[in-house]
């Protein structure tokens, strides 16, 4: 261990751990990247720091600057940490149907304001509200994780090289799809190192979260996904539902990992991948720890009840 000059220097360099006992195929190993080990508790610390540093280089931020960002939780928390240390103010637009701990954590960090967006519009609604507020307040900095190249770059320069350094025998990379930043950055890096590596995206069913959508033209594809030709980069994309996500979140405890529900979904995707290939090594990103989901009863309540609650909650 070393002495670090700031907590911000602790972001990234997360452990990669063998979890192959969870693999349904004995010829396929699974290794998990524990992003919950970041100081702010999730993979999003990486992009929070990278986006803020880039904005500083671009001269968009001065001491006391106000930032606004749509987030279902983790990016907001990552930004809250970085902004607190660097002396910026932060406003987060968050869908109302996230776990209470996500909101409480933002409050604990002392953000300026948490603006709620309608739960029936999911993250789409948060993006829409943040875009409107940013347009009304040109004096605020809007880093816009869905459209900021520093987001995938954090993974191209950090997460991807770390996986390659620790496990060059990797054949498949699996991660959840939100902004698409992790998949774009890591996927691009790994394919540069070995073009045979396959990239799998896991997403939750949008289900009841998009009932507020009026028509298909209200749909949304992250600008970074289009700019960086995500559809050409991904080799496979699959939905993992709440039941499977929670079952795998519970199963992760058997290898000593207390992770969030999206991590359960990602591992379910890794297991699906493992069951469909002959042999290989699947690297999967576990985006955060379980702490922010205790109130969902994910580990302790009857599975059916937890699943019903999860259908109405954004856990990605």
């Amino acid at each position: 261990m070393a002495l670090y000059d700031s907590v911000l220097a602790l972001i990234g360099n997360t452990p990669l751990v063998e979890v192959s006992t969870l693999s349904p195929n004995p010829a396929v190993r699974i290794v998990a990247k524990l992003e919950g080990q970041n100081p702010g508790g999730s993979v999003k610390d990486r992009i929070a720091l990278k986006m803020v540093e880039q904005a500083e280089k671009d001269g968009l931020l001065v001491p006391g600057s106000v930032l606004i960002e749509p987030s279902s939780g983790n990016t907001g928390i990552g930004l809250a940490l970085v902004c607190r240390v660097k002396g910026y103010r932060l406003k987060i637009v968050m869908p109302e149907n996230v776990s209470p701990e996500r909101r409480q954590t933002l409050e604990a960090w002392g953000v300026d304001e948490i603006v709620s967006s309608p739960g029936s519009e999911g993250s789409n609604g948060a993006v829409r509200v943040a875009q409107r507020l940013a347009a009304e307040h040109p004096e605020w900095a809007f880093l816009y994780q869905y459209g900021n190249a520093a987001n995938p770059r954090a993974h191209y320069e950090g997460t991807g090289p770390e996986i390659w350094r620790d496990c060059p025998e990797v054949t498949h990379f699996v991660a959840g799809l939100g902004t698409s930043g992790t998949l774009l950055g890591v996927g691009t890096y790994l394919k540069e190192k070995n073009p045979d590596i396959k990239v799998w995206a896991v997403e939750p069913p949008s289900g009841e979260m998009v009932d507020g959508l009026r028509n298909l033209d209200d749909g949304y594809i992250p600008p970074i996904f289009e700019d960086q030709h995500g559809a050409d980069l991904l080799d496979f994309k699959t939905i993992v539902g709440p039941r499977e996500s929670i079952e795998w979140t519970r199963r992760l405890r058997d290898v000593g990992i207390f992770a969030g529900i999206s991590s359960g979904a990602a591992v379910a995707g890794a297991a699906k991948c493992a069951s469909r290939i002959d042999e290989g090594v699947v690297a999967v990103v576990l985006a955060d720890g379980g702490w922010k989901y205790l109130s969902t009863g994910a580990w302790t309540d009857p599975l059916d009840e937890v699943v019903e609650r999860a259908k109405r909650t954004i856990y990605f």
């Binding site: 939100g178 069913p205 998009v210 594809i221 991904l234 994309k237 993992v240």
Partner: protein, 92 residues
């Protein structure tokens, strides 16, 4: 070949309010064509005039996104479920 097709809330008004309908076809493209033939309100909502999937429509066969398989040529079989979902921003 008859398969079950699940529709998102915003498309249900075009199919008499149902969330699940059945349609015939051996590929995703055939299933969607059959659906549009039976529910003309869906015309242009799923597939563009050029014959590609609508930009904001994701179609899944048993949870797997057909864009990353054989797109509209992706085969479907008895007992498969085809799900249509709008493309939306993911949590982050």
């Amino acid at each position: 070949m008859s398969v079950e097709v699940r529709l998102p809330t915003l498309l249900r008004p075009h199919v008499g309010g149902q969330s699940v309908v059945t349609a015939d076809g051996a590929t995703v493209g055939e299933v969607l064509s059959d659906l549009v033939a039976r529910f003309p309100g869906l015309q242009g909502q799923l597939v563009t005039e050029a014959g590609d999937l609508h930009r904001f429509v994701n179609v899944y066969v048993n949870d797997d996104d057909v864009r990353y398989m054989d797109k509209l040529d992706t085969k479907v079989g008895e007992g498969d479920t085809v799900s249509i979902l709008p493309a939306v921003a993911g949590g982050a």
